[in-house]
Structure formats: C-alpha cells, structure tokens
C-alpha cells in the first residue's frame, strides 16, 4: 500500500467512523450528560485494541490487511478527544461543577479499561482461530 492509498483508506474509515459517531449522538440527543461521546470513546478504545491484538498475531489475515482503514481510520474517526474536552467545558459552563470531573474520571477509566479488555479479547480470538 503506497502513501496515497494509506491516506485514502484512513480518510474513508474516518468518514465512516465520524458518521457513525454523529448518528449515535442523534440517537442519544437531549440528555444532560454526554452519553454518546462516552459510549463511542469506550467502544472505539475496545475495538482498536481488539483489532491491534488480533492483527499482530495474524499478520496475513484480513484485519492486518485492512489495518489503516480499521484502526487509524474507523476507530480514529469514531472516537474524539476534542468533543470530549468541549463537553467537559460545557458542563463547567452550565455550572454543574461536580459533573465535569466525574465525566473526565469515568471517561478515562473506561477508555483504558475498554482497551485492556479489547486487547485480551483480540488475543484470545486470534489464538482460538489458529
């Protein structure tokens, strides 16, 4: 894969990921807590770790071949740090001071827990399918 194909694969995956994130936000619209971003960031962290663990153990597999599209592309575009930050600031702006640190704490903990669990799951699946 040359550099242009690599960029195209990431761009396409990111477009798809961002669209799915937007649809999730419409689905969960109207809540006072940013559930949609929390959900996509946890799911995306789980998914990227599962993909990475699987691909690194099955180098000739389909996941490894589609890695730019799936990892930097889909998972990268699906998850977002800037909107997470903005939502935290918005909670502060709404004078819900206690909710902002709760949002940050729950987010970071569950992002990392998601990646940890996805990694284990991806490894197990790669071994089981050998």
């Amino acid at each position: 894969m040359n550099i242009w194909q690599h960029h195209a694969a990431v761009g396409l995956g990111s477009a798809l990921g961002a669209s799915l994130r937007y649809l999730t936000s419409l689905w969960l619209l109207g809540s006072t807590f940013p559930w949609a971003t929390l959900l996509v960031n946890i799911l995306g962290s789980w998914l990227i770790a599962a993909f990475a663990a699987y691909a690194s153990r099955r180098l000739d597999g389909r996941v490894a071949r589609w890695q730019p599209f799936l990892l930097a592309g889909f998972c990268g575009g699906f998850t977002t740090f800037s909107l997470f930050g903005l939502e935290t600031l918005y909670l502060f702006d709404q004078e819900r001071y206690w909710l902002a640190p709760i949002y940050v704490g729950i987010s970071v903990t569950l992002w990392l827990a998601g990646a940890w669990h996805g990694d284990r799951w991806g490894r197990r699946l790669a071994l089981a399918r050998r």
Binding site: A15, S82, L83, G85, Y90, A115, D119
Partner: protein, 130 residues
Amino acid sequence: MDIELMSLLMVAAGGAVGGMSRLAVGNGVAKWLGAGFPWGTLAVNLSGAFLMGLLAGAVGLPGPEGPSPGWALLAVGLLGGYTTVSSFSLQTLLLWHQGRTGAALVNVLATLLAGFAALGLGVWLAGGLT
C-alpha cells in the same frame, strides 16, 4: 435536502479530511520526536483541542435543536475526526504492557491537563463561551 442528511454528509466529509490530517500530522511529529512516546497522538489531540476551543469561542455552542451543517462539518466531522481517543487508549495500554508505567501515566496526565489547557486557551483567545 433534509437537514440531518445534509449534516451527516458534512460530518463524513469533515471526518475524512480530519482523519487524513491526523495521519499526516501524527506521522510527521512521530518522525520528528521519535516513536518512544506517543508524541504524534498527543500533538494531534492538543492542536485539535486548541482549534475546537477557537471554533466554539468564535461561533458558540450549538443549541438544543442540534448542530448546524457548518458545526457538523467543522466541529463534529473535521476536529472530531482529527482528534482521537482510541489511539490514545491503545498507546497508553502498550506503554503499560512494556512496563513503562511512568510513561503511561505521563501520557494520560499530559493529554488531559495540556488538552484542557489548549482548549481553554482557544476559547479564551476567541473571546469566551457565550
């Protein structure tokens, strides 16, 4: 055209450009500062948070009626897709797996603290949230 379909297309277009920009900036910074620490993702998330702050300060946050097509393109698509949580989670997990607990902790703290500082700086430079 239906406003939500229009917004979805805007999100997809912004997400594609954002994802490709993330790849280009991330690779460039990683090449410059080395791959021993996830500098690329950190640089992307900090610059994205700063730009999101500028944007939110300049145009204001979307109301309860949902985002305009412009906000969908620039905030949800472009900056939302440019920044990423999935790579951050995966790279933090890898540092942890390598036994580099200190580096993993620094990555989390630097992303959060500098991320909020960058976002706040952007908002402040653009005249504040209102």
